[in-house]
């Protein structure tokens, strides 16, 4: 059984130089860490890297290649590849004999987080998201999955599959010097993918959209000046040293807020 890990490069946010050098994206490294531990557990023969991106990514990809990858392929699909096109291009580049693909969660720059599922659809494979570990259960492969609100699941893994590593801090992976030197000299094969007609066009950039703010209703019994003071203070204000929380139904208003955001459903 062989496995593939999807890799991306992003500008190094910690670099002080301009332009910032490119490094392997944190979520890609998390996927690589998961892939390496799974390789041992499932006795996978080969673990290869696969990346869709421009030639400028190569130095960052070589750093990843040095982390015990058995090879790496870069796919060139032009600058406009969207999720569907990227999934199709990557699927075409997955070597025969591969039964597991590891992907990171949403890329840190402008990732949609939809690529692993789209890739699974192109390949006709199953997909499991938010995977924290791969292990053997009764001698068969299983995955540990992080669900919403502290739920943890152990699922039987049906191969072939695309696994998306749960977001989290990137593992500290250090290459051996010999691997690093070999990766610098390695030839990275490039596959060309001719994209379909574009499906999306960027119309422009603007400022980040503002966060919605909620102001609680001021007490209905308060005088106008007091109501204004309550509004300006961003919530319910004290009246002559006494809080008015209980009488004005603050708990109800907080519960309304939580309910509107879906946090009061049964079983949460």
């Amino acid at each position: 059984m062989n496995a593939v890990v999807l890799l991306r490069a992003v500008p190094d946010q910690e670099a002080l130089t301009d332009p910032r050098p490119l490094v392997a994206d944190g979520p890609s490294l998390t996927a690589l860490g998961l892939a390496r531990s799974s390789q041992r557990i499932l006795a996978a023969v080969e673990l290869r890297g696969l990346s869709l991106g421009p030639a400028e990514w190569e130095p960052a990809l070589r750093e990843a290649l040095a982390l015990d990858l058995d090879g790496l392929v870069r796919v060139d699909a032009g600058p406009e590849a969207d999720v569907v096109e990227t999934a199709r291009a990557l699927a075409a580049a997955i070597p025969d004999g591969t039964s597991l693909v590891f992907a990171g969660s949403s890329a840190t720059d402008h990732g949609s987080g939809l690529l692993p599922a789209a890739l699974a659809q192109v390949l006709g494979w199953s997909y499991v998201g938010s995977v924290t570990a791969v292990e053997l259960h009764d001698g068969l492969p299983a995955v540990r999955v992080r669900g919403d609100a502290g739920v943890r699941r152990l699922l039987r893994l049906t191969l072939p599959a695309v696994l998306e590593a749960a977001s989290g801090p990137a593992p500290s992976l250090y290459p051996r010097l010999a691997k690093k030197l070999a990766a610098r000299k390695a030839v990275i094969p490039v596959m060309q993918h001719s994209a379909d007609e574009p499906r999306l066009r960027i119309d422009g950039y603007g400022p980040a959209r503002p966060v919605t703010r909620t102001l609680f209703r001021p007490s209905a019994t308060a005088r106008p000046a007091e109501r204004m003071r309550q509004l300006m203070s961003g919530g319910m204000a004290r009246r002559t040293g006494q809080t008015i929380a209980a009488e004005s139904g603050v708990a109800q208003q907080l519960a309304d807020l939580l309910e509107a955001q879906g946090f009061i459903g049964e079983g949460k």
């Binding site: 987080g113 502290g150 422009g204 807020l257 955001q261």
Partner: protein, 326 residues
């Protein structure tokens, strides 16, 4: 021009997930603006969606492959401008799979959608959230995975036809569930939780934190704390949020008896929604909170727990089928 919109949601015993609610809310607004008819594809169990719906389907399976296959069949008529899903794991997977099936554009984290000059414009965060980008869909339907952080509209009565049951053309085996556990508010990592109920000196002691734990349990969240509360020995150090503690970004952060010192704020100010309870109307936390309550934690928190329990009990009795006492 096609004049329909499809919304994909998952129904369940607790009603609509807030992320699916955001998708419904954006789709309803879009339908009003464009005069489009609303269609719903509900997976799992039936749920009453707010607003007026033209057609509804119910798919008992909650497998994204089956949902994508059925949504592709529904939209095959070519009448749909957009398909909306929520940012739930199922919504994302179904959105990605459907885009591949239809060969259509898909955009995630969508904060706004509008028709302009007969083209569909979608706005999503860009450059790690510091900017927003507007994209134009060059092919329809566009698959719109709606940001969970948009402001949802006022609740509205539901006018939805009885959903017609769908029998999937293909049966997909869901992965076998071998085990499931839920972490308690004291086990859950603060950095991972969707809801953090955090306390500071104003909580008054370990008993106060027990109360916060009860509230966090009700909300499926984790307990967080300020450094002062940790230094006083009321909670363990792994709960500390701030400059010398953990950086958290939950969807909901409830700050109880916390002054909002910069060292603390640095660790939580990127939270989706910040609510604060403090007796001091001029405390710093109110300047970064989305909702502020001037009140005593020891009064507001028990009242909130009681209110949540009351609403859940009410919802449970409303769901009880007639004649279930037999």
């Amino acid at each position: 021009m096609p004049a329909r919109v499809l919304v994909i949601v998952e129904g369940g015993p607790s009603g609509l997930d807030r992320r699916d609610n955001a998708a419904v809310s954006m789709a309803r607004r879009f339908a009003v603006e464009t005069g489009a008819e609303l269609d719903a594809l509900v997976s799992g169990a039936t749920v009453a969606l707010p607003g007026t719906w033209s057609r509804a389907w119910l798919l008992a399976a909650t497998d994204a492959r089956a949902i994508a296959a059925e949504a592709a069949a529904i939209t095959a008529s070519g009448e749909h401008m957009a398909v909306f899903t929520g940012e739930t794991p199922l919504g994302r997977e179904a959105g990605g799979r459907l885009a591949v099936r239809l060969g259509c554009p898909v955009v995630a984290g969508v904060q706004a959608v509008r028709m302009q000059s007969a083209a569909l414009h979608l706005t999503r965060p860009a450059v790690a959230g510091t900017r927003s980008a507007t994209l134009v869909a060059l092919k329809l339907p566009a698959i719109v995975v709606v940001s969970a952080d948009i402001a949802v509209g006022e609740p509205a009565p539901s006018a939805m036809p009885e959903p017609s049951a769908l029998v999937p053309a293909h049966l997909f085996d869901p992965p076998e569930l071998l085990a499931e556990t839920r972490l308690s508010p004291w086990e859950m990592d603060v950095a991972e939780a969707e809801v953090v109920v955090a306390g500071g000196r104003g909580v008054g002691g370990p008993e106060g934190f027990e109360l916060l734990g009860t509230l966090a349990q009700r909300l499926g969240g984790a307990v967080g704390a300020t450094r002062v509360a940790v230094d006083l020995g009321w909670v363990s150090r792994d709960r500390q949020v701030g400059l010398t503690g953990r950086t958290v970004s939950p969807r909901f952060y409830l700050a109880c008896g916390i002054s909002g010192a910069i060292h603390h704020a640095l660790g939580m100010r990127s939270s989706g929604f910040i609510a604060a309870i403090n007796t001091d109307a001029r405390c710093a936390i109110f300047s970064i909170a989305n909702a502020s309550v001037v009140g005593d934690v020891r009064e507001v928190v028990p009242a909130l727990i009681a209110e949540i329990d009351r609403r859940r009990a009410l919802a449970a009795t409303e769901r009880e089928p007639v004649g279930s006492a037999r």
